[in-house]
Amino acid sequence: MKERITYIIRNPKLGFEPSNLEVAKASISVSSLDGAKEHRITLALAEVPQELVRVLKNCHELHIRWATSREHDSIAPYVSRVTPGLHVFYTPLREKATKRLCSLIQKLFGSYLKCVSTENILINFWSAFTTPPNISGRFSHSASRQYFQPLESTDNLVAYIGQTTCSEHNYECKLRVHDLLTADYIDGDYDSISHAVNLRAYWSQSHLTDKLWWETHHIPANGSLEVGVLINETPDEEEELRYSGFLTQVGDDDKPSPTLFSFPARHHPLPQSSTFKASFRIPSGLHPTYSVQLPADSLTPPSRDCYLHSYLTLPSPLFIDKYPLSDPLFLASHNLKALHSISGATDLEAPDWVTDAWGSAVLFEIVTPPSAKESLEVTIPTHLRYLSPIDSRTAQGLRSLLIPYPSVFWACNAELGSQFSTSPFDRTNLGYDGLFGPKTVFYYFNPSGPVNGSGLANFLDVPVLDLNRTGAGMVEWGTVFVILVGTAWVCWSLMGDFVSWGKGGREKEIGNKSD
């Protein structure tokens, strides 16, 4: 087991006082540190629970990305943003892997998560998982299958890790695992070449009352621990990030050693003022409009050759009709420039209950106004699938869906592209990165939550058939009754021929009027 903990000082101007680091023989203490933290653990397969190994052995690569829907700061180099919720990207070795992976996802993150898998090859084998297009080609870092679910809390995962790694009375272990609940994102990576499992958790700040880090880290049994405290410096090159600070190999070093380094980075921050908000226009009806608002002062490109993009992961009840989005006028009316990529559940007619795929992933290019004087509202026209009827006294025939915020970023063409992956802070398999060439640099807008405080996600009320108003039996027998009455009524008029013919009355009546 290898552990590496990195702190990034929030305010580079205040710097860092090395005396706040206390190095002991097998531990290190951090005190009064204001900044972000990344905790990375590398495990050999032997150190992983058997039920996980069984799934991993069927994977060429597996990447799990979970991001909170709480609002939080991005501090370089931890600025890349997947849409809030649970993402799974994976390339299978064996076709059978999906069913096991679905059970694992449900075990780790919650049994209620929609993950349909089928062993029947005649039906669609990749039911829950979708296949995004791969623009990067064979140099891609991206896995071939995609899965996403909105997921606000990781308590299921935290409970699982606690049970599998901490012995019953090891409260220190349990407390540390418990800290994961406050993480802003959690990554898990495995590939069949390194045979190692990489876990990463990121906190934008401490969750203690003074918002400062006060903690002691111990060397794990049969492992190593490295702790770094880094400060963002102004880089020499536009595409680079540069850091100064202190690194400590706990157990080897008796004091922190100063360091200064820089590297080409794929993911870059934008100024704090570059924020965006996303919300659904009210009333949303069955064709909700997802509106993304960008303030005027954030609309200047960070570099040459940059294009503004938004990437959305839409759960299966919500979908996009790609056909009108090929019309420049229609696109322009929504302040969109192009629909670059759409994959997943794009059937325009299927109700949600026959849609096995998790949903769809969409990449839009947004117009960049020639003069950034006015704020920009981008609207994304979506449609709702019909959801299964409900029987509820309280819901007023509505079901509430949690729809995550999109990611909004500039994608710029870079020159140093091929060296990104050498950086220890590089992060790939985010959903959108595979849709761009390998020489692309991303600059991220900071999502800011809507006023009503539901975090980086929006609730969307979907009207559904409410069986509490009219019961299923009433609908069924009522319909059948009316159809039978209608049929009999029409048949009766057809028979009326024989009935009235004898009397001759009807004929006379009409015959008289015909003149």
Binding site: P283, S284, G285, L286, H287, Y323, P324, D327, L329, F330, A332, H334, T346, D347, L348, E349, P351, W353, V354, Y386, S388, P389, I390, D391, Q396, G397, L398, P463, L465, D466, L467, R469, T470, A472, G473, V475, E476, G478, T479, V480, V482, I483, L484, V485, G486, T487, W489, V490, C491, S493, L494, G496, D497, S500, R506, E507, I510, G511, K513, S514
Partner: protein
């Protein structure tokens, strides 16, 4: 005004002008607004035609569920930007031809004076709904011209031609098969012998069952059955050989397996929505029997009881019953029966008793209005109006349609034959 409506110059130029204006207005709106005049289906057709022009299958386009013939007809739309509207022009021309055929049939088979015939043809020719649907690029107008051409061919005793048209129409949109039954039934010896010097010999009457059957199988009926079957199967065979399984799947099997859960005018809609979902508790699956009342009325009872009395009005009643009892129903389907209205209306109690006629029209519009109001609340305001609102509105509209269907049936049943002049072409 009434005089204008009986002037061929006014009616035809008016019908053409109406469509030309709408076509150009559509071009204008499409070019300057994000909200397109052009129907979504038209993009489906033209996309499919584009796939076809690249040597691919039209079924490469999602939601293309029509015969490849339609995409083939629209191939010129792929010749360039200015050709994009070719299909709309084609549909609009089909409208005018259909209107012209209505006039021909009214004049020749009903012995109606030209002016009066034109007036009734205006129901189709100058109908803004018909003109809009065609110029927006919906192919229903093609069905209209096929249905009326079928009727025209029958009245002109072009039985083989009628068979071919019938085969093509059924290949195009399935539902015209109901006309096969009424036409076959109608084509009895009495109709055939009305014309002096008929080319079909009259069979003698006999009490013998086999002879009765032989009597039924007169040459005209055999020719119609054979030509329609051969043309229908030839087209299917041809399309299957070129486009294979997707052709069968998209143009025919889809209509068997489709769920039709999204709200529409059909009385079955809420039941289908509910029972196709996981919330379904019913084990009876009564909705799978929905075809029974529909086919009983439109393909059996109405043609057998009424066809010999008045063929065109019977075709109206059949279509009306088919659409009313269908598992899915949208406003484009109303065009299917509208084409037959000019044959029925002149002799109907709807026209004879204006209060009845106006009541029927108002109720028909009101039934839709009520449904649309509930649909608007659901679609745009997000209120859950599935039950009871939309459900009851659909059932009410169904009952209104049943009531109107009864009026049509009663009119066909009870009007004196002498008041209807419909007959085969007579040699004057």
């Amino acid at each position: 005004m009434p005089d204008l409506l009986s002037s061929p110059v006014f009616v035809y130029s008016g019908a053409v002008l109406l469509r030309v204006v709408l076509l150009f207005y559509g071009l204008f709106q499409d070019n300057f607004s994000a909200f397109k005049y052009t129907d979504i289906d038209y993009y489906v057709f033209t996309d499919a035609a584009r796939f076809m022009s690249h040597g691919k299958s039209p079924y490469a386009r999602d939601t293309y569920r029509y015969t490849p013939l339609l995409a083939w007809l629209l191939l010129p739309t792929t010749w360039g930007r200015s050709w994009f509207s070719f299909g709309k022009v084609l549909f609009a021309v089909a409208d005018i031809v259909a209107g012209y055929l209505i006039v021909l049939i009214l004049k020749s088979s009903y012995r109606m004076p030209g002016g009066r015939a034109l007036k009734f043809a205006c129901i189709w020719l100058l109908n803004p709904m018909v003109a809009t649907i065609s110029t927006r690029g919906s192919s229903e107008g093609l069905l209209g011209v096929m249905a009326v051409a079928l009727l025209w061919a029958v009245t002109q005793k072009q039985i083989a031609l009628a068979g071919v048209i019938l085969g093509v129409a059924v290949h195009f949109k399935i539902y015209p098969f109901i006309y096969a039954i009424s036409i076959l039934w109608w084509l009895d010896d009495e109709q055939l012998s009305r014309e002096s010097g008929s080319k079909y010999p009259k069979n003698g009457q006999s009490g013998n069952r086999i002879l009765n059957l032989l009597n039924f199988l007169n040459p005209a009926r055999i020719i119609l059955a054979a030509t329609s079957f051969v043309s229908f199967m030839t087209l299917n065979g041809l399309m299957y050989s070129i486009y294979g399984w997707p052709f069968l799947e998209q143009s025919y099997l889809y209509h068997v397996t489709r769920i039709d859960h999204r709200h529409n005018f059909s009385p079955y809609n809420t039941l289908l929505h509910l029972n196709s979902s996981p919330a379904a508790r019913s084990t009876l699956k009564l909705e799978s029997l929905a075809f029974l009342p529909q086919l009983l009325l439109s393909a059996v009872a109405i043609p057998l009881i009424l066809a010999k009395k008045d063929l065109p009005s019977t075709m109206l009643a059949q279509t009306f019953a088919f659409v009313t009892f269908n598992k899915v129903c949208t406003s484009q389907y109303f065009l299917w029966y509208l084409i037959f209205l000019p044959f029925y209306l002149p002799f109907s109690s709807l026209l004879r008793r204006p209060t009845l006629g106006i009541t029927a029209l108002v109720l028909w519009v009101l039934g839709q209005g009520l449904w649309l109001q509930q649909g608007y609340q659901l679609e745009f305001l997000g209120r859950s109006t599935f039950v009871p609102g939309l459900w009851l509105a659909g059932l009410l509209f169904f009952m209104i349609n049943c009531w109107i269907l009864r009026i049509i049936i009663n009119d066909i049943n009870f009007l004196q034959p002498s008041s209807r002049h419909f007959a085969l072409k007579k040699s004057d």
